[in-house]
Symmetry: C2
Subunit: 207 residues, 2 copies
């Protein structure tokens, strides 16, 4: 049986990270997210905070076609390339090593050849704003307008990041195995059925 690889892409405020963590726990699959940033920093020799802030940003010199070969090698060894190469290697090592669930990082594209169970998590703007407010740091009092702008900026960054690696558009349902609308849902209540759906998906994949 091949490794169970799950990727979670998500809109900001949709509860996607929580969904990923809980699903990994329920399925007893190792969960990776920010650990990957640390490993990228380690491998690229760049500072953790630098990697955190810069990976995947403001870098689109050439259209890059991503597939079984990794064409970034030809683009030039600046820091962005270093980080993306390190990330590619780390994600592939994780996928080779065993089961894994990865939130973000365009993992569904980077690991496309492993045919992951790929989830996209989304919600209505209203619901995302509510979730953001519930999870805000104490003292973070964004106006509705500021919060909407933040949500749109984060998602637009994710969209651009994906464009680095794929010609499939971020959030287009065709690219995902399952798209989950979490509007007004309590994430943890969705986990048993999502876990059972994923089990079923992996069984079908084996056949």
């Amino acid at each position: 049986m091949s490794n169970r690889i799950i990727t979670v892409s998500r809109e900001f405020g949709s509860g996607g990270r929580e969904l990923g963590k809980r699903l990994a726990e329920a399925m007893e699959i190792p969960y990776y997210d920010k650990e990957i940033i640390a490993a990228i920093a380690d491998r690229s020799g760049l500072a953790l905070s630098y990697v955190e802030q810069n990976i995947g940003k403001g870098f689109q010199p050439y259209p890059i076609h991503y597939g079984r070969t990794f064409s970034l090698y030809g683009v030039g060894q600046d820091n962005q390339t270093k980080m993306l190469i390190a990330q590619q290697q780390i994600l592939q090592e994780l996928a080779e090593k065993g089961d894994c669930l990865i939130v973000g990082r365009c993992a569904d594209m980077v690991l496309e050849e492993y045919n992951p169970f790929s989830i996209f998590v989304y919600a209505s703007l209203e619901s995302k704003m509510k979730r953001c407010r519930e999870k805000a740091f104490p003292g973070e009092n964004l106006t509705d307008r500021e919060l909407k702008k933040k949500i749109s900026q984060v998602d637009s960054g994710r969209m651009q990041y994906r464009r680095l690696l794929s010609d499939k558009k971020w959030g287009d349902k065709e690219a995902y195995s399952l798209c989950v609308n979490t509007s007004n849902m309590t994430i943890k209540n969705l986990i048993p059925s999502l876990s059972s759906y994923a089990d079923c998906w992996f069984k079908e994949k084996q056949q």
Copy 2:
């Protein structure tokens, strides 16, 4: 507890009708699909075959905003309007009467005010072609090109039909509670987890 209303929209060849039927059976919810056509024929006084072939086709005289009021009344009492009004009434009566699962008919839009659990079923073109070939009538030997054209035409009709009733685009994930990619999946194996997901969704809705 309010009635459990489930709507299934689907790409041609994605197995959406089978999914709807099986899900209704598993959840013990009455399933309606072609029965609705018969009721429309009955109520509008038009022939069944006429209704089957014409409902929702070639009719877009005005942009229609669909909501709690039904604005088609103002458009003119031609046959298309008669059929759509009958359909609207029948779907609403079903939703008032009790639990129901409806495949197609833009039921997610017509019944929007009931806040249905709305599923969109889709698949890769390759997978849809395979499914169509498995279900083809004996002697129906379409070439790949003909089959692709058929799939695209049926879906384009569904898209236009939806435009009659809503400004939300057919197939855009935002309009649905859950979008299920059935590529290479055996529909019946997905039912237990989908049924459990729907149960959970209805429980959350009650709160």
